[in-house]
Symmetry: C2
Subunit: 346 residues, 2 copies
């Protein structure tokens, strides 16, 4: 048999780069993935317990979770699509709409990753030196793109874009994704703009404030026409029944989550103050801190913490920017105290 694999592989696939996730290790404090370390609320745990004998049934509560997330956003079900994490919704967006895509740098690595996987071009505009958004430059470049990615608050910088600027970008008439992964910590949303801008897709997740990262549950809110198109490429059983039911439980526990969020925000301010005494820290807007540890090397900073059983995210140098960066999630009160204790010796 003659078989040459390269004859069959799409040309862009061999060059794709791997994503390196934050490490999880037993006995370590993990402040590397912006998880909510207080864990799930009671109704989530109950939903899992109630479903533990029903794993053999294909997921069949899609309509329920779809209705629930849209209701959480004060909309009806036809404005929502639910995915296996918001990652999967990025994939669906890129399956429905033509590239190229445009995003800022640094920003969430997934935009580039999922764009490239589908063989589309990904264009980037560097943030300003202070990590604010060069909106006019972005708009200029957007002429060359069909899909625009805005992450607000931006990961990993935590910087935010004002609604006026988002509107300016929306007015360019391109498919515009506003990723509100950290919405529950930031408190501001552009979902009300959906009635006016039918090129707007708002991306949300249960992985951060709602503490369901391990179950994979994300959603997008947009006008019904875009939502219908996204459903055309949605795999029939993309969201597990466990994620569907846990998501319902999480939203039924919204009040409990709000309490936890305000605790995290209070602790974040304390961490921001404390760490700012030694390092340059950007004003946070989500559940993490973006820290320039120079003149220390970021790898050295992370290794020192790792020896003390604390894992943070090493961002390192950013092309076009000065400094050495790490991203530190706000953990539980106890974890944060331990981090500050260790940092005191740096």
């Amino acid at each position: 048999m003659k078989f040459n694999i390269t004859d069959f592989v799409k040309p862009w696939v061999p060059g794709l780069e791997e994503y390196i996730p934050g490490k999880t290790l037993k006995g370590y404090i993990k402040l590397a993935s912006n998880e909510n370390n207080y864990g799930p609320t009671l109704r989530v745990v109950r939903a899992i317990e109630d479903n533990r004998l029903l794993t053999h049934i294909y997921p069949h509560m899609y309509e329920l979770i779809q209705k629930k997330v849209s209701g959480y956003c004060s909309l009806t079900h036809e404005y929502a699509i639910v995915g296996n994490g918001s990652d999967e919704i990025l994939d669906m967006i890129l399956k429905v709409f033509k590239g190229p895509a445009l995003g800022f740098y640094p920003s969430f690595a997934g935009y580039k990753l999922f764009t490239k996987i589908l063989g589309e071009n990904y264009l980037e505009i560097n943030l300003n030196k202070d990590f604010s958004f060069p909106v006019d430059e972005f708009i200029k470049k957007s002429k060359d793109a069909n899909i625009l990615f805005l992450c607000n608050p931006n990961n990993p910088t935590g910087t935010v874009m004002f609604e006026d600027d988002i509107i300016k970008i929306l007015n360019e008439g391109k498919i515009t994704i506003v990723d509100e992964t950290y919405y529950e910590f930031y408190g501001k949303t552009v979902i009300p703009l959906i009635s006016e801008y039918n090129n707007l897709i708002v991306l949300r997740t249960f992985s951060k404030a709602f503490a369901l990262a391990g179950l994979r549950l994300g959603y997008a809110i947009s006008n019904p026409e875009i939502i219908r198109l996204l459903h055309k490429v949605k795999p029939p059983f993309n969201v597990s029944s466990m994620a569907q039911m846990a998501g319902v439980g999480a939203l039924d526990d919204e009040y409990a989550t709000k309490m936890i969020i305000s605790k995290i925000l209070k602790d974040r301010e304390k961490m921001y103050r404390e760490i700012s005494r030694k390092f340059r820290v950007l004003k946070p807007n989500a559940n993490f801190l973006f820290v320039d540890v120079s003149p220390m090397k970021s790898s050295e900073f992370c290794e020192k913490l790792f020896k003390e059983k604390i894992i943070v995210r090493n961002i390192g140098k950013l092309e076009g920017f000065e400094g050495e960066y790490v991203r530190i999630s706000v953990g539980t009160e106890e974890e944060n105290r331990e981090l500050l204790r260790v940092l005191a010796s740096f």
Copy 2:
């Protein structure tokens, strides 16, 4: 703002057809999706209980489940990739390899669905009148395709392809997927051919015999080069931690599952005998029966069962074939008895 959505949509997306899954309704016996109605084994339930407080952590047991499934196939981890159901692995295959794809008709609807979603052509060869495989005709047509889908045993017919025929097809040197979704019921596999044929990908799932359809867990076994390419397009957190751990639990309970499988196979033979008295039933090779209910209408057959709170899959007429078809899963002993009781009055 001027925004015309059709300027942005990939041309094949609006025409995509929706997949209609089997219904799940409380109080009904569901024999429509080839699930294992005995439900999960003890170690699966334990794994879920052990993980119910850890939903906030991103999935981090990928290497473990990858090692576990490859071990189950007597191979090492570099021969396996794990997905959010085997559906997701179909999507990955179509992201890595160029179309067109070729499959039989009727067969699993997912091959066509996922091929079309990525804008690739899907070619079909009708099965023989008796639903056996027209291998030579398939081989002839395979010259026009890069990806070949074989479902063995075939869904929904339950018919099987002999290894000699699979080898003949492999010798064509195309990317060849052998979908062994029902392997645990059929007992035969082509995994040993992987060492010889580096164009072979074997697809497997935890949704059937292992009773994890609701958690979404599937895998593929192939040579390390293909597995590496598939990992290039794998989303970082595609498999939930619940599915990872439940999968490990399921394989640790392999013996318990084997007991259940032999029970299901015994009951299947009884159902085959009984239903054959009234209708034409194909010889089953998996955990379902493919039944020609003509001269009755298949929709009428299904409705009559539905009134008695039993749900089976209405296949209906098949283009190019005579008859009216339904697919009936083998359920628990009690469910099967109820089905036969109701069918006695047909």
